[in-house]
């Protein structure tokens, strides 16, 4: 059994998630928001790997989930960046406070 307890990993992952969430919620730059989202996804990945290692080491579920999420994050980043580039081309900005046309 590793000497470092599971909680520590969870704390790190939670901290990372909070940092990502904060970034996603408060940053004005769309690319920065995308970064925040990446951070949150990776926090989840840490959790998954940690739970796999400490609770069900015989199954590969946690790792597989992590791999899926990494692939998903890559796809999400690609689509997100493409969207932002398209927005930038039409609106000349990536500031999300200015991209607010879909409202009342």
């Amino acid at each position: 059994m590793p000497s470092i307890p599971l909680q520590w990993y969870l704390i790190v992952a939670a901290a990372l998630f909070c940092i990502g969430l904060y970034g996603a919620l408060v940053r004005r730059n769309a690319v920065a928001i995308l970064m925040g989202v990446e951070l949150m996804l990776n926090a989840v990945n840490i959790n998954l790997v940690a739970f796999w290692r400490y609770i069900t080491p015989t199954n590969m579920n946690g790792q597989v989930f992590a791999i899926f999420i990494i692939a998903l994050a890559a796809a999400e980043a690609a689509v997100g960046l493409a969207l932002f580039i398209a927005i930038y081309r039409t609106r000349d900005t990536v500031n999300v406070e200015e991209i607010n046309l879909l409202k009342f």
């Binding site: 969430l21 996603a24 919620l25 999300v96 406070e97 607010n100 046309l101 879909l102 409202k103 009342f104």
Partner: protein, 752 residues
């Protein structure tokens, strides 16, 4: 064998009615009258063929077959189950109905042909505008009479009986737009519509009798179980009916009196006679067809048909109460109506009262047991009274012509009485200044008043000679038809010892001769009393030829019932052999033997009747013929103070009815009106008001609560939407925050 096709006889006129009314042949006036005449001619040919066939078979065989319900003389079809028996319709031909068929089609055909000329087909400009309709109605009427005659039961007979009632209503009121002027409060005023009033009066008065007839039929089918002749004429049915009582009274008496009530209404006998004189408002062919020759004879025929019931209503050795009633009513009416005929000015009204009187004689004959004589008189009367009515129509036409000639040709001549409707204002004003007329005066323009006529025998020879044939027949001069039939009635009353009825008959004979002599002398003899009479013209050929045919019949038709004068050679008495067995149907052998006894001329009775008629003619000649009535002269009879007033006012029967029955009816109607208006309507209005009040509450509830809830829901949704849309900021991070908070919240709620 044609008898099984008897159904076609009433069918042809019915088809003609439908052809004219429904198929639109009414666009062509001449075609529609030709259809009507052709249809009736077909019926007539068929009737004659059946008559010839029946003569070949023999009357007793025909009667036996009919009573036993054997084809072809009784053709019956099942119509509806009726308790244990079956209600059957069809045709029923026995000697008397075959005779009636022949008479009705012959007289009817003559009247149809005459009506063409009377309604003015020869002059297209002056043809009656409702010419086609007239022939349609006449056809329907002929259907009613022919159907009535051959009905195999009382119910089918009632259907056709009422059909005739309807047609008489339609035809009496044929000129329903003809107004009546009366002198009231010092001026002439137009009140109501005379013809339509007469039509209503005829319809309602006969309806009173028909209620009795209907009750009688109901009672008969309830107690006797059937109204089929071939059931009623069975001796066992008669015997069973004799046993029965209705509330303690022998049922047959009640039934017969109720049936007689129908006949009283239809044949205009005493209490219900008032409609017939008024019915003269209709066109003259209608008067001849319905109110002289055929329809009023239906009442006599009904009694003749149900005679076995009447005869069976009496107990052993006692006279039958219904028969006595029939005889008394008939005898009374014959004298009563004849006396009114003395004092009438209208040529047609005199004939109308004569008809009532003669019908009374027929009922008296039936009531005294002279069944064959009654039917015989009905037969001869149909011919000569049709002749007289058509002749009077011809006279009226001639007077109309003279009237227009005298006035110049400015008036459009449409029909005899339309003239009044077209009277111009100037003439109306002139009339307003005329003082109230005395009862022996008449309006100078009235073409129907005998006082305006005189000397017409030179102007209208054909009408005069044919009319004389009718008058001689009616007044009972030998050879002419009326003598034989009337003598038969008197002889029977005399020989059976009913001297009271015999004397009444003699009196009626005298009175008939007198009023007819008065009419003939006033109309045809002396000098013309008005310009109209001076310029009167003979009627067209289509009117005079039927008159001649009917005159021939009126002269010779009596010979069929001539008594057995020559004794062993049996020249006379054909009718008696033909009809002998009918009245005794179902009554047993004794009655049969009595009925088939040979008849012979009773010289004493015939002489007395002839003497009475001659006396009547003599008095008429002395009063009206010897010294002709001068123009604007006073009727000699009117010098008799009280009696003239009584007769002129027709014994005030109409006035009595209008003061009592009609006033009572009007009072009842007013009471009913009051009840309807103030009690029933009040209840209805109360319910209506309450309902309205409730509904106003419900309306408030509906519009406020129900609609309010719905509206509030819609408005609330809208408001909520207005408010909620503010959440939609368009800033992605706000949404993300919400999602985050929501997930935290859910996680918090789902914690363990």
């Amino acid at each position: 064998m044609l008898a099984q096709y008897a159904l076609l006889i009433p069918l042809f006129p019915l088809l003609s009615f439908f052809a004219i009314v429904v198929l639109g042949f009414n666009r062509n006036k001449r075609l529609s009258s030709n259809i009507a005449i052709g249809a009736l001619a077909l019926s007539g040919i068929l009737s004659y063929l059946i008559f010839i066939q029946a003569m070949g078979v023999g009357a007793d065989r025909v009667l036996e077959a009919a009573v036993n319900g054997e084809a072809p003389w009784a053709t019956l079809w099942n119509w509806a189950p009726l308790g244990t028996s079956t209600f059957q319709v069809g045709t029923y031909l026995d000697p008397v109905s075959i005779l009636m068929l022949v008479m009705v089609t012959t007289v009817g055909l003559m009247i149809f042909i005459y009506a063409q000329g009377y309604m003015g087909i020869q002059d297209p400009a002056h043809t009656d505008p409702r010419y086609s309709r007239f022939f349609a109605f006449l056809s329907l009427f002929a259907c009613g009479m022919l159907g009535f005659v051959i009905s195999p039961n009382l119910i089918q007979a009632l259907v056709f009986w009422e059909l005739m009632g309807l047609c008489s209503f339609l035809l009496i009121g044929f000129w329903f737009d003809n107004p009546k002027r009366v002198y009231r409060n010092g001026r002439w005023t137009t009140v109501g519509v005379e013809n339509s009033n007469a039509a209503k009066k005829a319809f309602l008065t006969t309806r009173i009798g028909d209620v009795g007839l209907f009750l009688g039929i109901t009672l008969l089918s309830m107690i006797g179980g059937s109204t089929q002749w071939n059931v009623l004429y069975q001796p066992e049915t008669i015997a069973r009916l004799q046993e029965m009582t209705f509330f303690g009274v022998p049922a047959l008496i009640v039934i017969c009196l109720l049936l007689f009530m129908g006949a009283v209404g239809k044949s205009a006998q005493f209490p219900l006679h008032v409609w017939l004189p008024d019915a003269m408002a209709g066109p003259t062919p209608v008067s001849a067809m319905i109110h002289a020759a055929t329809m009023v004879a239906a009442g006599v025929f009904l009694i003749a048909r149900t005679y076995p019931l009447f005869a069976a209503a009496g107990a052993e050795g006692q006279p039958s109460v219904p028969l006595l009633t029939v005889a008394v009513i008939g005898a009374f009416t014959s004298v009563f109506a004849a006396s009114i005929g003395f004092a009438q000015a209208d040529i047609k009204r005199i004939l109308a009262f004569s008809t009532i009187s003669q019908l009374g004689l027929m009922f008296m004959a039936l009531g005294t047991g002279a069944w064959v004589a009654g039917v015989f008189h009905m037969l001869t009367h149909a011919f000569f009274k049709a002749l007289l009515f058509l002749g009077s129509g011809s006279v009226i036409h001639g007077m109309e012509h003279g009237l227009h000639h005298a006035h110049g040709e400015s008036h459009a001549h449409v029909s005899p009485t339309h003239h009044e409707a077209e009277m111009e204002d100037a003439e109306m004003e002139l009339l307003e200044r005329v003082p109230e007329m005395k009862s022996w005066e008449s309006e100078p323009d009235d073409p129907q008043s005998v006082y305006n006529m005189g000397g017409l025998r030179h102007r209208m020879p054909a009408t005069f000679w044919t009319y004389m044939m009718g008058v001689l027949a009616l007044t009972g001069i030998p050879i002419w038809a009326g003598f034989w039939s009337k003598d038969e009635i008197l002889a029977h009353a005399f020989e059976t010892g009913q001297y009271g009825f015999w004397l009444v008959g003699l009196l009626a004979t005298f009175m008939t001769a007198f009023y007819m002599a008065r009419q003939v002398f006033l109309v045809f003899f002396g000098q013309p009393r008005t310009d109209a009479a001076t310029h009167a013209a003979e009627s067209v050929r289509s009117m005079t030829i039927p008159l001649m045919v009917l005159a021939v019949f009126s002269t010779f038709v009596g010979l069929v019932g001539m008594p057995d004068i020559v004794g062993p050679f049996h020249i006379g008495g054909w009718l008696h052999h033909w009809l002998a067995l009918v009245p005794t149907t179902g009554l047993g052998e004794e009655a049969v033997a009595e009925a088939t006894a040979p008849t012979s001329l009773n010289v004493l009775v015939a002489g007395a009747a002839l003497g009475a008629a001659g006396l009547g003619w003599l008095v008429g000649y002395l009063l009206y013929g010897r010294k002709a009535l001068p123009a604007a002269g006073r009727d000699p009879l009117s010098r008799i103070p009280v009696i003239w007033d009584v007769l002129w006012n027709k014994y005030w029967v109409d006035q009595f009815y209008s003061k009592t029955f009609i006033a009572l009816t009007m009072l009842l109607a007013r009471v009913g009106n009051f009840i309807d208006r103030y009690i029933i309507d009040a209840i209805v209005n109360l319910f209506g008001g309450v309902t309205r009040w409730f509904s106003s509450i419900f309306r408030w509830f509906d519009s406020t609560i129900v609609d309010g809830a719905v509206n509030w829901l819609g408005l609330g949704t809208g408001e909520a939407g207005q408010w909620m849309r503010l959440l939609q900021t368009g800033i992605v991070q706000n949404y993300l925050l919400v999602v985050f908070v929501a997930i935290v919240l859910i996680a918090f709620l789902l914690r363990r």
